[in-house]
């Protein structure tokens, strides 16, 4: 769908459209580094950003590039809550005398099929609920995670559910309608 509209616009415009978020981000970083907003900073930042994107081209990120305000807020809120609770939990496990519980390596079948969304899911999972991504099978959409603090199989299942919940939050916030729909059908068929 998106490729049709961009192919008619020509390869240069196509590339520019895909590089635009990166350009904006680079200009923003440049200005934040200088610490003040001015036209000189803006123009020099634009020059640096163009040089970086032309000299070091990256493959374009496609799919799932929209933003829903309310689910995004909910995702960010849960992210902060999870970040604080998991940080406190791991910190407590390092200082308590009995040390840590047993850990586990689990694989989780995800339902999303977008590079960008999978990246966000993996990044946020590594930061939040006591889990860390070890490996990812892009073809089968499975994620292998190492989780701290499991005592029995019920804990393992709880961790698996929390991973799927995290995925749902990310897709609801950033995914296309088709991806959100895929989430719902997959959840129903699994339940």
């Amino acid at each position: 769908m998106t490729t049709d509209t961009t192919d008619t616009a020509g390869p240069v415009a196509h590339r520019f459209r895909h590089q635009l978020p990166l350009l904006i981000w680079l200009v923003l970083v440049w200005n934040l580094l200088w610490g003040t907003w001015s036209w000189a900073n803006l123009l020099s930042g634009l020059a640096v950003a163009l040089a970086v994107t032309v000299l070091l081209p990256l493959p374009p990120v496609t799919g799932g590039s929209r933003l829903r305000p309310l689910p995004t807020l909910s995702f960010l809120g849960w992210f902060v809550v999870d970040l604080i609770s998991s940080g406190a939990l791991v910190a407590w496990q390092t200082i308590r005398p009995s040390g840590i519980d047993r850990s586990a390596i689990i694989t989780v079948q995800l339902r999303t099929d977008s590079d960008l969304l999978l990246t966000i899911v993996a990044e946020s999972l590594s930061l939040v609920p006591g889990s860390m991504v070890i490996d990812m099978d892009r073809e089968r959409r499975t994620l292998a995670l190492h989780v701290l603090h499991v005592r029995d199989d019920a804990d393992v299942e709880r961790q698996r559910q929390s991973v799927l919940t995290q995925e749902r939050r990310v897709v609801r916030a950033f995914g296309s309608p088709a991806e959100v729909a895929a989430l719902g059908t997959a959840g129903r068929s699994a339940a």
Binding site: V29, N31, L32, L33, W34, G35, T36, L83, I84, S86, G87, A88, V90, A91, Q93, T94, I95, G99, I100, R102, S103, A104, I105, I106, T107, A122, E123, S126, L127, G130, M132, V133, I134, D135, A144, H146, L148, V150, R151, D152, D153, V156
Partner: protein, 155 residues
């Protein structure tokens, strides 16, 4: 000095100290946890949270927006890069079998029942030879023979 400024300073002190404490627990975790995978947990979560708290505390204490933007950038890049580096290290650790299997409840990634480690207990040096070198050599020879036969059949 007004009451508002005192309250602001107190908040900044609390944030800075708790952030420093969390970074300390990250260091403690590196010492106390048994293997690479669990140590990477200690290296990411309390440490990232600690850095974030220190950034917020510093932003409250420091005057001027230019410092605040810089601190915001530090926080953003910390959250972007820490998971990636932790993932790369733990992935390599898993593939080089630096895993304390006696401390694992389940390992769903480890496929096949016959390939379990019998000798290694995790925390071997990075250039440790394969377990039971004789068996590994026999395996590789068998693989080579099988491949050679397949090539003969194809040719």
């Amino acid at each position: 000095m007004s009451a508002l400024e005192v309250a602001r300073d107190a908040l900044a002190v609390v944030l800075l100290l708790s952030g420093a404490l969390l970074c300390l627990t990250a260091g403690l975790g590196l010492l106390r946890f048994p293997d690479v995978l669990t140590r990477m947990h200690a290296g990411t979560k309390p440490q990232v949270l600690g850095v974030l708290l220190i950034m917020v505390g510093a932003a409250i204490r420091l005057q001027g927006w230019s410092a605040t933007w810089m601190l915001l950038l530090v926080a953003v890049f910390q959250m972007l890069t820490a998971p990636v580096s932790a993932h790369m290290v733990s992935r390599v650790a898993y593939r080089r079998r630096h895993v304390r299997r006696d401390r694992l409840l389940v390992d769903e990634l480890h496929t096949g029942a016959g390939v379990g480690d019998r000798v290694y207990r995790g925390d071997e040096p990075a250039d440790a030879p394969p377990e039971e070198p004789g068996a590994a050599l026999r395996e590789s020879r068998r693989e080579g023979r099988r491949e050679g036969r397949r090539e003969d059949g194809a040719g």
